[in-house]
Symmetry: C2
Subunit: 467 residues, 2 copies
């Protein structure tokens, strides 16, 4: 099966394409370079061409044509992922959804939208229509698309209240196109959603998304400082357990993270300040202030509705989730990170165990989230990178202590997830992508069902580095 790229490109020439080599290169990449291991392996990856469909009909045409010519298709939103989710490991076509971005319907509690819509634009539309917004978003919401978030994300700002994208009710419906001689149009709800959500576009292309909405408020952004990290973590956890206080974000940044890497915050903190970043609904501010006044160790150093900071630090959510890592990387390119889940009820205890084990080598950044109805932590700690071997060892040591790791130094679904096959996703790929052309190399169980996960998976079809 040899792809005929030229023929596919020719047949699709009436659809908008990017021809500039620099554009093709940039649209073949995401934030994979957060990981030194992925940077070493994926830096050369590049599509043969980039096509920008503007409708479902054009998506179907791209899939049908590429199928006919055996050309791989990797779908892409804004490329804000960190796992190489949208990088075309085998080259071929990158299908960029930026032109396919209409907000179609808004109702109480839900919206119907095309996948290329940027989350910021989606929120602006639902807010203007009826004071609503999406329940959760990545810290990259100002550039990321809703389709990329559903296909490549797992949660984020809002997960402190709503849990993860994979939780029941956090996606209502997905419309999906298969990659066959005659692509089919399918509608998934309920159990079927798990086939294609968080599948990196490996087994179908999402063309319409129905998402639940939450009320949109004029969130008050805050930074609360603590001398003690455990006190800060306990505060954030307890605040999220206050049923009557509406929170959208609760992040904990271990000292000296804020002082070292948060540029416009630096002058307001010391090297020993651990910060908690928060978004609180305005009508919950009285309850919040009462809660905080009960904690003598808590100092509110910034609130967006009343402060004397000479320079606005920008939205607090752009300090949280994966933006924390980005800010640190700008100062120190040797930093990388992990994705840790500290599960209830041992979350606080586990974090302290990890801190005692690694000290400054692994600096704690926690995001409070709900899992199964209980408040716990997602950790995105900053790791001082020395070698791949040490990084792998750090991962293993976390797992040995009882933490769950979603390894961000891997480019496959399984390794970045629970290190096991997702039978539903694999079964649907068999049905929907018989030639295995959708985002190749990202689903290990498709290529090698017996993979043991004892080392990083090396996709055999990977583009070779040009000499």
């Amino acid at each position: 099966m040899t792809p005929d790229v030229a023929a596919a490109k020719q047949a699709l020439s009436h659809i908008e394409m990017d021809e500039n080599p620099a554009t093709i290169r940039s649209k073949s990449r995401d934030f994979f370079w957060y990981s030194p291991m992925l940077k070493a392996r994926l830096d050369h990856v590049q599509a043969d061409f980039v096509v920008n469909p503007k409708s479902e009909a054009e998506v179907i045409e791209v899939l049908k044509t590429c199928y006919a010519h055996d050309v791989p298709v990797t779908v892409r939103g804004a490329g804000t992922g960190n796992y190489g989710q949208a990088m075309p490991l085998a080259g071929g076509c990158v299908m960029h959804m930026k032109n396919f971005a209409q907000v179609k319907e808004i109702h109480p509690g839900r919206v119907i939208v095309e996948p290329g819509c940027i989350i910021k634009d989606l929120d602006a539309a639902t807010r203007a229509h009826s004071g609503q917004e999406v329940r959760m978003m990545p810290s990259t919401a100002n550039t990321a698309t809703i389709g990329g978030f559903v296909a490549g994300g797992s949660g984020g700002v809002g997960s402190v209240k709503w849990g993860a994208l994979r939780d029941l009710g956090n996606i209502i419906r997905l419309r999906v196109i298969t990659m066959e001689a005659e692509p089919r149009v399918l509608e998934f709800r309920g159990e079927e959603l798990a086939r294609v959500s968080h599948a990196y576009g490996t087994n179908g292309i999402i063309t319409e998304i129905e998402m639940p909405l939450a009320p949109a408020y004029d969130w008050v952004d805050m930074f609360v400082a603590f001398d003690s990290f455990p006190e800060a973590a306990q505060y954030a956890c307890d605040l999220a357990n206050e049923d009557g206080i509406v929170l959208k974000l609760a992040s904990v940044y271990e000292a000296p993270m804020a002082h070292s890497y948060f540029q416009r915050v630096k002058e307001h903190v010391t090297e020993t300040d651990t910060l908690v970043g928060l978004m609180v609904a305005p009508h919950s501010m009285d309850g919040f202030e009462t809660f905080t006044a009960r904690r003598p160790g808590a100092r509110i150093i910034f609130r967006s509705d009343a402060n004397d900071w000479p320079r606005d630090p920008g939205p607090v959510f752009e300090f949280g989730w994966n933006h924390t890592t980005l800010r640190a990387l700008k100062f120190d390119p040797k930093i990388t990170y992990l994705q840790v889940r500290y599960q209830f009820p041992k979350h606080l205890e586990l974090v302290e165990k990890v801190r005692a084990t690694f000290g400054a080598e692994v600096l704690q950044h926690l995001e409070v989230l709900r899992e199964g109805g209980k408040v716990c932590f997602a950790g995105l700690p900053l790791v001082s990178y020395t070698s791949d071997e040490r990084l792998e060892e750090i991962v293993r040591m976390h797992e040995d202590m009882g933490c769950m790791i979603f390894n961000p130094h891997r480019y496959t679904l399984e390794e970045g997830g629970r290190q096991s096959a997702d039978a539903r996703q694999l079964a649907f790929k068999r049905e929907a992508d018989p030639k295995g052309l959708l985002n190749p190399g990202k689903m290990i169980t498709w290529d090698d069902p017996d993979w043991a996960y004892d080392r990083i998976y090396d996709y055999p079809g990977m583009l070779q580095v040009e000499p």
Copy 2:
């Protein structure tokens, strides 16, 4: 200190009053007769007169005048409480707030309202204005006032998501009038709210309420049937732990409650069916159905958006909370109830222990609620009443097993609460009601600070039964 009722009544004659003796009697009562112990003690209680102020100025006038003439004042909403909260134990003036009921301002996430507003009317106003509703309400929301709920209630429909009224953020602000020679107007927020919320009007009169709002949806009412009670309880608990599914109510009714007492439900269930009553947001129905399909024991027998029942059973919330008891009492006047808290994480286990102990003598009715961020149960079991002694014994046996009891066979704040003095409420009563004229007999620590709670408190100032 002898009250001069006639002088006070004369001085207030320009304010609307009820003169009809039957009206005075009915406005001196609430649902205290749920309890055989309260029925025996309070049935004769009656005000000397009932005044219906329509503004804060008139409230101040009533308080000032009654203060001058040493006349007790008991404030009253719709009289839907069950603890005799609004019953004038020492006679005097009942101040009925029905005319003082304006919705003053509605904003995103909050409303400002006068205390006499019926919750149904308040919800209609906030819904029409901006698709919002109060976070929680009693099952009597169609007749109860918002002021009565704040002063005499503790939670209800909506507590499955928002916890209790006492939790931070569930009341924003209260405006309160003192009973002094010159009544003062005070504004309470934060920690100060605990002085007067759930204080039965014993230490101040609420004249304005600022409450947080939640999004209002066209809730889908449902009944789900189970053969097994423990399975039903587990289902309700697990459903409430689904972070992505928006619930407003989850009640569990042990068999044969639904068959025996739920008139329009009877023909659709058997004597062995345990029912779960639910309110789910329409945009959460897909997630809900997916969740329910995973439980082979769950049968959805009614949903308000699609059913073939010849007669509409009415709102599901009018089967829950204290309405369950009301429905049972209509069939069997020997039934009474308890208020039990089964706390996380032993809630499921404790319920089974109680069931094994009492069998049919104490039939389980559970309401799922959040407490400290965790899902657990409020129990309002139906109790077969035989004697006061046995009822007291049942209460003690619950406490011995580790359940918390809010005793509904008591008319004082302390006995219906945590059986201890609330220092904040007492301190504020000293300040705001120096003559002790506000709702006398309801705060034990005012009358008898050394009370041991070893038997029912007998208010010495109680009106005598007329021969």
